[in-house]
Chain length 494, copies 4
């Protein structure tokens, strides 16, 4: 088997022969993504994205395939990379490249650069490929976590400075393997074309960002006055953050744990770090499987919510030796330290479903004296801490999923289609807004108006058999709102 | 038994002899209201409300007694009325008037005008009494539903016009019994003192409002440019709307249903109208008791949430003949019509836990041809629809709670202390803000800053044994926030 | 107000004027008790209990009133006492005595001897009155906890011995206040009529017993060969123990806690002692209200069930200082000791929903040095432990419900009608079996055949809108069972 | 790749090279199976099964590998087949054959004949191989579903008759493909050795049976007087039926659905056929994922339980067009007919988690005019019903899992280790009982004594951190039981 199906600059995926299997899954996913399909029906004929060049950096799954093909149906030209080294479903990537009407021998779909199990260097090279058209850069970015946006912004900054700074040496607190890879890539780029990113940035009319972490970065850029183009914060649409983050995790967390380990969840102690939307979904899923859930929080409001929802709220330090499962849901770094890992129950399962792989201190774990790593199967590793004769403590091990990266994507197939349909309908609407209403959005971070949020919800009701009640005119008048919405003030929290 | 314990202008309650029982309950409630007690400890010594005259219009319960005595501990002079004709706990009202150190023969507490079972005329007279000091009006309003604010604003408007408009006649769609009472009161007031409300309004430095309905009115006033003083929207503090509205209802809804009817909830079909915070708490409580919950919604986002939470979402029309319990949670009017009432299962139980008594069409019910009303016990009435020989339909009845007013207050004792402690801590903080920072708030509707919201949460953690995790400095830096909060962006939804 | 409405030997209740209110509640309860009403329809015409004299010893609630009137509708003559000093609903007792067609001035219903708040001496005198007809004793006993059965058996034993033994002195481990009362009563009886109980026992053709504790006593009597007449164990019908014990408690436990204390359950730590059917219902109810539930068990199977259902399982000693609520559900004695009570969180709420008042060591509590008892309201007492200067421990208190007796009956109104309809339909069927099939049951403890258990269930399906699937003949053949049941082997556990 | 790793008569599995991966999983499973490991520790030294030859017919999973190696550790000689054509985990089968101390080149473990995806003919040949030692038959059977027992009993019957009856022709209601395979096998056997099964049966000292369906067959044999050796009903140990059946399904049902389809469960309508222990676990799991669960039942007691647990109870016919998922949990046949399948929502997912593949009418489906079967991936098939021009009905399809066989085993890896540890600890104890106490059990179906059931539970408490409360002597005396159990009467239902 060749390592890849690849045409340089055109696509690079695992194997185009997987396309048929991927197409079956896409077809089923379309049935589960009524929001995207309704947008194709509504907007397809007018092709509002005709002329748009979209670079996507978002987990290359079956659901993303339906998103990509929706963007294409609306007229866009698309290039895509995944935003996580483990999250690509190779059959989906293949099917997108082949396209609904192409064949593996004559692929006619968009350009995809993604496979499951990339190295960090490969990952960033794929991101680069997705950003560069043969004759220029993208009009729009569609980002998840902000890596495409980051590459453009860092490229521009270094081009302005005329130099890429030196990589901090290993051991320096600023050093990270990934940071080093990015600096190398930009150093080569600068040598190759000292204005590449400046030109790319100038052509971008906006970015729509999928997730908490990427949005956080965007607000930091905007606050500093450094944001180079308008951004739409899709994450904070209600139909994104309150659906994908919560209900998606509720589905895909136990799915990931089960596929990875087959360990019974019921009756066990599951420790959930963070009680935001993701943590809420995680806790609900684990309780629904009969686990006793303990939650950690830094925010007193979320902590109080967790308590009122019936969960014990504790610091990991205080209960670490009772814990069977640890799931991180924070977007923060170092929430599970190597000391925690060493103190957990023997064979505890540890995974991250937040965002980056620094939630669990994987670097610290790898550096722990005498620790031993055994691959049980891909994306499932047993890390064994040596016995300590001094304390009489026996050898013990923990099972770490997806090397500390998103376990629902690394160990399972990510969120199910239906919940991604709400997220991705927001993405499509955001892309159309940015492209068709250029000039209406300034270089800040914007959210979609509530009425579009409500529209996304509305597109998903029939599939669930929901009978929506309609306000009478009298009632609408009494409430001082329109019969067709928006129904709530902006600050409403749902 | 005398009808009332009363000293005109000083207090009017059911019976001061109830004070001892009320004091016991207040003492226990203090234990359950750590937020208020912490504010007494923190702010009591500096007496930030010294010189403030506070008129409260808020359910005169045991919990409100702890609120009132906290305001007094911070230096305020207080007068109080209830904001619902059924919601007063007479022993709490008595205990407040008597005061912690007074006796029924020598009461030394604040002025209270409230008893369980007021008529509408009595209700508004009590509100009037609470607004009028022997020598003027209040500095601050503390409102729940906005009736005190309404009286001041309507008074000012009619004084400006020089006349109170005629009461719309019975049968006119604008007519309501309550509206007529208010117009009468203002008519007498205008005759008595044509500048009373204009002077009162001029003395008010602000109002803090407790609930959705009152806030809605405030935004309407502010949007029209008619708001006469600054307002703080306490309802939309997270620690209010996401706690009191949800967790308070979760507790007090089944409590009210049980005390009213003793009817098994498990196995029954419970129909919840509205899936906002109140509806979410109601649905959770009913499911927790084993009911099968069906939800109605007009907002597609909330409807989709209900579906994703596992509830059937349907229009009441479509399932009305399967329904054993109906609970309205909307703040809207006419959500249960008399046609619905007539079509429910025989002996279905119907109650409102939203706000006003027009959620269920009580007027339409009373006007239904041949309907018969039987008082089963106070606040529990069976309404019997006559048999219909034409259709062969047998006589059937529904049980209506609290005459369509808030069932948790009318049939039980309202929200429990702990959850009111989060709400009322926000109220106290809002009152202190309005009074000590006069000039900082303009004539609009304001929300408390997030850091104060987080403070309220923090005051309630120890009582629940919550172990809060603390950010490291590195983590705070990584997240770009302060170690001590605020932890979330303003738009965060919890 | 006279202390009682009373005609010696005919009835003794609180006040016959309460009958109208009681009748309303009975009418509503009839709607909720489809099993009993169906039995009236099915069996009423043939009057299978004509000639039967039934003595009932069972909580004199509204639901029991429907049971009593069902027995009467089937032809029986009935006398009744409650089986708990606090569990009578005085309006139900009055309504039964008055009867559906009588008036308070001309009562025409069965003889009832019961009121809320009996002393122990009054309680046993009522039991005696219920057992003695003007001209003899009962044909049938209908018992709950076995007190009527106990009185007959002890009476017979002492009559055989010719003497009642001396009462163990206070301080003797065998001494209990209740035991002393019973011995006194029997001593007087023996003096009065040395063969009374021997004659009574000879006339009894059987007893049907309602609850775990009474059944346990019956098996002990039968195993010792001392059972004087046949017994039917109603408690272990599936439609009793798996419904009343579980779903009844799920309803009435939070109801009792709420009416007693108004303390928020959500977010608190609730400790449930025992995870049998009652404990399972208790834990579900508390979790449904957002409490964090911790369970104690002695049986490893039930302990493992609790763990698998997601509850922490711990000894009370190990977590006592974190506990806000303690609920005992064991049928065992001394499961909460005075040491536990003294170690709970300040103002913890403690109640028993198992059976006897010795689950919580009330005697030990009363004897605790320096302890202080304050009545907050009837059936709600604060017990304050003095400060201990030696340890620096501050004064603290616990709230004890119903003096350690069943809190759902003492603080609320017991189980709701619907669930009692399943229990009581079993009782009626058992009484009919014992009376019409005398000779078929020997002097042991029997259970009703499964097909009657299934019948009881079947009578309750329509009211809940259940659409039962019917086996095809082929399916029944395949399974080797009859289309109409029974559907399961005897050992099936449901 | 060779089709199999195989040594005739010694083993036949997919690939011995999978043994290393299987051994990793076995090692992790041992950690999760404290019951089996404790029995190795307790009983291993005395080797109570020395001399026993055990034939197992039970899903050849990782957990079964730990069971097999426990039996070996207790001295037994073992041969094994799976009891389902899809349920083998090939790496587990390989690891067992290789043995903990063997290598793929020099396997030293027990004989296994099993692989994932057997044909029916292969399946029964494997069963035959497991039953025949080079020099005779087994001493003990360990059965799941009763196929090994069936083969022995049918063999004996036909040998007694001297002939195997003719296979009913296709189209005959008695015909089934599987029945035909068994008759062929026995026909060959009879030709080969006319006394084989008579000799085998004579050597069997007993069988322990794992599951409802097999137990049902055993009771039928015993009732007819045809049971050839004693049987222990392991299924009805509490620690089996109330754990494996319920909590195992709770885990493995969503796991199977997710791996098969990736379709969101939340918000969907899931129809659960049967509300026994398996159905209860299924409904809990689906609700825990946010589905709206509708239950079908034939038994009114179970139907009433489902209603009281808050589920809608309906016939499939009445709601079929609203259903997104159907899961059969009955042990009955034909509970989902082809008419149901054709009437479901488009792309509904249908699977069986009961026992045999006739719960869903797969034969009827295959025979439906114009139906089309598409393999989406192994064990996941889309069946497309043609459009019907007559009614205007569009083409629609359903997704059928594992060809109607157990989806948790066919689409996932079956129950997790921990819950199988309780089941399999019962199996080991049953095998030891049958072998060491030959003569104590007659030719009927027996259950293990309660104290052994409690022992199995006890062995699993520490792993879950359960703190078991211990009765005091006084309490045990009061309850009339032993401090060490058994704690409940035989009829107790848990």
């Amino acid at each position: 088997m060749a390592r890849f199906s690849e045409v340089p600059g055109r696509y690079q995926v695992r194997d185009l022969a997987l396309a048929e299997s991927g197409r079956h899954q896409i077809r089923l996913a379309e049935h589960e993504m009524p929001g995207l399909m309704a947008l194709r029906t509504e907007l397809g004929p007018s092709r509002p994205l005709a002329g748009a060049r979209i670079t996507g950096s978002l987990h290359m799954t079956v659901q993303t395939a339906v998103l990509i093909e929706t963007l294409v149906a609306l007229g866009a030209d698309v290039r895509w990379a995944s935003c996580n080294i483990f999250s690509t479903q190779d059959e989906a990537a293949a099917a997108v490249v082949v396209g609904p009407r192409g064949t593996p021998d004559d692929p006619s779909g968009p350009a995809v650069f993604a496979w499951k199990g990339e190295t960090l260097a490969e990952y960033w090279e794929c991101t680069l490929q997705a950003l560069l058209w043969p004759d220029g850069g993208p009009t729009l970015l569609l980002d998840d976590g902000g890596d495409a946006t980051l590459l453009v912004h860092q490229g521009v900054r270094h081009e302005a400075a005329g130099a890429v700074p030196a990589t901090p040496p290993v051991g320096d607190p600023e050093h990270s393997e990934e940071h080093a890879v990015v600096l190398d890539l930009l150093r080569r780029s600068l040598a190759d074309d000292p204005q590449r990113w400046t030109r790319v940035a100038a052509g971008v009319v906006g970015v729509s960002e999928e997730t908490t972490t990427g949005v956080h970065r965007l607000y930091q850029l905007a606050d500093a006055g450094d944001l180079l183009f308008p951004a739409i914060n899709v994450n904070d649409s209600v139909t994104k953050s309150k659906f994908d983050n919560r209900y998606g995790i509720r589905h895909s967390l136990p799915d990931g744990l089960n596929r990875a380990t087959d360990v019974l969840i019921g009756g066990k102690v599951a420790f959930v770090v963070g009680y935001g939307d993701v943590g809420k979904g995680a806790a609900e899923a684990l309780r629904g499987q009969g686990a006793r859930v303990v939650v950690a929080e830094v925010d007193p409001i979320c902590a109080l919510q967790a308590a009122m929802d019936g969960y014990q709220v504790a610091r990991l330090d205080d209960v670490v030796d009772q814990v069977d499962f640890v799931v991180t849901c924070t977007g923060n770094r170092g929430v599970v330290t190597v000391e925690h890992l060493a103190a957990l129950k023997d064979k505890a399962v540890v995974g991250n479903i937040g965002h980056f792989d620094n939630e669990i201190d994987m670097a610290g774990l790898a550096a722990y004296p005498g620790v031993r790593r055994t691959e049980l199967k891909p994306q499932v590793h047993e890390w064994t801490f040596p016995a300590d004769p001094a304390t009489g403590r026996a050898e013990r091990s923990v099972i770490v999923l997806s090397e500390g990266r998103l376990l629902n994507l690394g160990n399972a197939t990510g969120h199910p289609s239906f919940v991604m349909s709400t997220s991705f309908a927001n993405q499509v609407i955001a892309q159309v807004e940015l492209f068709t209403r250029q000039g209406s959005y300034d270089r800040h971070v914007h959210r979609l108006p509530k009425v579009l949020d409500e529209k996304v919800a509305r597109l998903h009701l029939d599939a669930l058999g929901v009978g929506l009640t309609r306000l009478t005119k009298d009632q609408a008048l009494y409430l001082g709102i329109d019969v067709d919405g928006p129904y709530k003030p902006e600050h409403y929290r749902y």
